[in-house]
């Protein structure tokens, strides 16, 4: 083999090198949520848990109280517990499985990948609210058929609140995942930090007032009801700035600078 002069290939047309749109990247990230066995089972589990809660409600709630709302609201909590795991895994999976090497080779502007990931998990969170609505509807029909109230009473304010509740849950998970970049660390931190915070606030009286603004288990609770005051929104905003926005920004900066290997 010797070095000979070869004619260079003609330049390719400009259209072929146009970058992927955010919508396309979001589609890819949505696909990644479901294209592994682990990911698929997490999604199935989230759906199943919502269904199980409704079945339990059918047995434990007094017949006259078996309304649509009575089925819908309780299903939000366990789903809200698993959505952060989905958020965490969507980010940390790239590092633990080292697919970041491929992902960022195809999309070197890493912030676009992160934004697409956040969009994908937010869409998943919104879809989970639809699942909650669907299983609640089935529960209401079943209640009507089995002698319960089966009333379709529903305060529509509850719907945007539920959507915010689940979106916040999944984003908080993603933010922790972005900051920790390591699945076990992110999950443990996510589960432990708020609990430790609540415990401290319960023990130390000086922390009680800040906790009302910073403890997400406290500030997010009103989202499960139909009424929310301006003060409650304010406290929610402050707690989210600390527990979602801050880790999100710090994690993003870290990811952009990080060495991928």
């Amino acid at each position: 083999m010797t070095t000979t002069t070869r004619t260079p290939a003609p330049p390719r047309p400009e259209a072929a090198v146009a970058g992927p749109t955010l919508a396309r990247l979001t589609g890819v990230e949505l696909r990644k949520l479901a294209d592994t066995r682990a990911g698929r089972w997490l999604l199935i589990t989230i759906g199943l848990i919502a269904a199980v809660i409704v079945v339990v409600q059918l047995f434990v709630v007094e017949a006259p109280d078996q309304t649509f709302t009575a089925f819908f609201t309780p299903s939000l909590l366990p789903v809200g517990l698993l959505l952060p795991v989905l958020g965490i895994l969507s980010i940390t999976g790239e590092w633990s499985q080292r697919t970041a090497l491929t992902t960022f080779a195809l999309v070197p502007r890493r912030e676009r990948v992160i934004v697409a990931k956040l969009a994908a998990v937010v869409l998943a969170a919104l879809a989970s609210v639809l699942v909650s609505l669907a299983v609640a509807a089935v529960g209401t029909l079943a209640a009507g058929a089995t002698g319960g109230a089966g009333a379709w009473t529903f305060d529509w304010q509850l719907l945007p609140h539920a959507a915010v509740f689940q979106v916040v849950n999944v984003l908080m998970g993603a933010a922790f995942g972005l900051l920790a970049r390591n699945t076990p660390l992110a999950i443990v931190t996510y589960l432990l930090l708020p609990t430790v915070w609540s415990l401290l606030a319960a023990m130390i009286s000086a922390l009680r007032e800040p906790a009302r603004w910073l403890d997400t288990s406290y500030t997010m609770e009103p989202l499960l009801g139909a009424e929310m005051t301006g003060g409650q929104w304010g406290r929610l905003g402050v707690s989210l700035a600390v527990w979602v926005l801050l880790p999100l920004v710090a994690g993003l900066v870290r990811t952009l600078r990080r060495e991928v290997s």
């Binding site: 083999m1 010797t2 070095t3 002069t5 070869r6 004619t7 260079p8 290939a9 390719r12 072929a16 090198v17 146009a18 970058g19 992927p20 396309r24 990247l25 589609g27 890819v28 696909r31 990644k32 294209d35 592994t36 066995r37 682990a38 990911g39 999976g93 499985q97 080292r98 697919t99 970041a100 090497l101 491929t102 992902t103 960022f104 080779a105 195809l106 999309v107 070197p108 502007r109 600078r257 060495e259 991928v260 290997s261």
Partner: protein, 299 residues
Amino acid sequence: MIEVDQLTKRYGPHTAVADVTFRCEPGTVTGFLGPNGAGKSTTMRMICGMTPPTAGGATVAGRPYRDLPNPGREIGVLLDASAQHAGRTGREALTLAARTMGVDRARVAAALDRVGLNETAARRRVGAYSLGMRQRLGLALALLGDPRVLILDEPANGLDPEGIFWMRGLLRDFADRGGTVLLSSHLLREVEAVADRPVVIGGGRVVAQGGKDELLAGAGTLVRARDAHALRLTLERAALPATAGTDGGYVVRAEPGQVGQAAADAGLVLTELRPAGSGGLEQLFLTLTAGASTKEAVR
């Protein structure tokens, strides 16, 4: 076309890559050759925007990698064949990449076919793949966007001899059609077999580069005569520095013409006279990298 300009990477006091400069022209295969821990992978990761360099820069197709809007369509990259999600099937890994690049889905099947992964293999999870199969999948991924440039880190790793032979042919063909290839290897034979331009790196520095012929030219002449003893005396008399090979021949630090002349003057019958070639390059590789640290860089 790949241009690497004074790339440098330091990790604290440790310098992984120092002042590395080279070019890869269209139509050529550049072999990035060096022992383990010499800085090959770090250099390649810097070229692909994965590792921020401490100093210097690199461009691919005229632009820094990170500025390319859709790099997969211009540059095929395989930095680590093991960096695939173990739970995804081979086909799914390619489908994700095809969607990201905006490449027709039909190309996925074609790419799998091109690297010799059949239907059964494509449906299996990557976790169940052998290293050789992962290399093939990685190569399929790199070729998927129909790029003009290939950057491959140790692509022969884990391939069986037949697979290595197949890959050489594929890369040679890619370059012959005007493509640019940069591949790394710690195996001299590998680089020798496929590359026309070796870039030898040791201890983070480029210690030799150029056309293979140029590098080999400096490697001396191999000579063999029917009467080995007479040949040795003749070489001594002509003051040509020679070292005895393992198989009765001599490697002489001189042009074949000089050696042939000396033999003719002495009336010797030569059975072999040629540039030392591969044997010489091997010696060159060993000498050039002997002083270099062969410890794996600790990152």
